[in-house]
């Protein structure tokens, strides 16, 4: 849940990057970390295995600056995508103000995307949150791969975007779509705050 301090006029929001293994969640955070000036970000914390697969989460705090007179900070988290780590994935979702679902655009990964989306729904429910109400955007990553290997954004919308939420084509490795995705989820999360409701 967003933390709002009316005395010091500060807002802190938690955004979780969710999705199947190797879809590019950590890559999104690495790109953001590389682009944001030192003074506007904290240390990136990665709890990973020896082979650099996310074990628990990656964490990156960024300082958005003043919005409507509030110093606004976002805490970006990733979850481990591998099916095996569902217990830790569920823990990271706790208190999320918004979710970015990073889908792997490769055609052969469609089942993994669907499974991960269902897993998101069930893990949110465990926290008493209905997926239809949480601020959510979809990112179709790896759109830079050869056409014959991937599904188009339109095909992925048909398969995954049952809520009709904002969706973004991306090549997170090179930064394409990363900024637009962050902007998309930021708007949804802050819109909810502006409406005077919290997750």
């Amino acid at each position: 849940m967003s933390l709002v301090n009316f005395t010091t006029r500060e807002i802190t929001c938690k955004i979780v990057y969710y999705g199947p293994g190797r879809s590019g969640k950590t890559t999104n955070l690495h790109y953001i970390y590389g682009r944001v000036p030192d003074s506007r970000r904290g240390r990136m914390v990665s709890l990973a295995t020896q082979t650099d697969r996310t074990l628990f989460f990656d964490f990156l705090p960024i300082d958005l600056g003043q919005i409507s007179g509030f110093a606004t900070r976002f805490q970006l988290y990733t979850v481990p995508g591998q099916v095996y780590y569902n217990a830790t994935r569920r823990l990271v979702l706790q208190g999320a103000d918004g979710v970015v679902f990073v889908a792997d655009s490769q055609a052969r990964q469609l089942d993994e995307n669907l499974e991960s989306l269902q897993n998101l729904q069930s893990n949110l429910l465990e926290h008493g949150v209905d997926i239809r109400t949480v601020p959510l955007v979809l990112q179709y990553n790896k759109q830079d791969l050869p056409r014959e290997l991937i599904l188009s954004a339109s095909d992925l919308d048909d398969a995954l975007n049952f809520r009709g939420v904002p969706s973004f084509s991306a090549d997170a490795l090179h930064g394409k779509g990363v900024f637009e995705t962050l902007k998309g989820i930021s708007e949804l999360v802050l819109k909810r705050l502006a409406a005077g409701t919290t997750a």
Binding site: M1, S2, L3, V4, N5, F6, T7, T8, E10, I11, T12, K14, R35, V36, P37, R40, R41, G42, R43, V45, L47, F56, F57, F59, P61, I62, D63, L64, G65, Q66, I67, S68, F70, T72, R73, Q75, Y77, A87, T88, L91, V92, Q94, G95, A96, F179, L182, K183, S186, E187, L190, K191, L193, A194, G196, T197, T198
Partner: protein
């Protein structure tokens, strides 16, 4: 050393605890890792990393306890060469909070921290608001400022 509270009701119990337990760093946070009060940290963003990690440790052990069919562990302690880390949860009117305490073994001890933590828990319980009503936060036209902030952040 600076002591700072995001929610003011946490400040007095925290200041008292820091003095009595001679703690070096203290965080009081929600179970999701949102910081409510802190002592001893210099940069806000570093506080967030510590809070994320502390909340994750407590969440992991809570889950292990749940799978064992027992109530959550009351407290966790890790002792290093020079410093110790103490983590414990407190039930308050604001929900379940987590306290992370780092203490210097030359000036404090686990016993001292545990002793005064009980008082901190009682003080936080007594001081916590019983409910919170969501208030309007941002102006309706915040998108323009958000867009400008993100453009600056990404050097666009």
């Amino acid at each position: 050393m600076t002591t700072r509270a995001v929610e003011n009701w946490t400040l007095e119990p925290l200041v008292k605890f820091v003095k009595e337990a001679s703690a070096r760093l203290v965080l009081v946070m929600t179970s999701a890792g949102q910081v409510l009060a802190q002592h001893g940290f210099s940069r806000a963003v570093d506080v967030m990393s510590a809070a994320a990690l502390g909340a994750a440790i407590v969440a992991s052990t809570d889950e292990i306890a749940r799978q064992m069919g027992q109530p959550p562990f009351a407290a966790l302690n890790h002792q290093g060469e020079r410093h110790g880390i103490f983590l414990a949860a407190v039930a308050t009117g604001r929900g379940r909070l987590v306290a992370l305490v780092v203490y210097d073994l030359e000036v404090s001890s686990l016993g001292l921290v545990q002793l005064f933590f009980e008082q901190l828990a009682a003080d936080l319980q007594a001081a916590s608001p019983k409910d919170s009503v969501p208030k309007q936060v941002l102006a309706a036209d915040f998108e323009r400022e958000l867009s400008a902030s993100l453009n600056t952040l990404f050097g666009r």
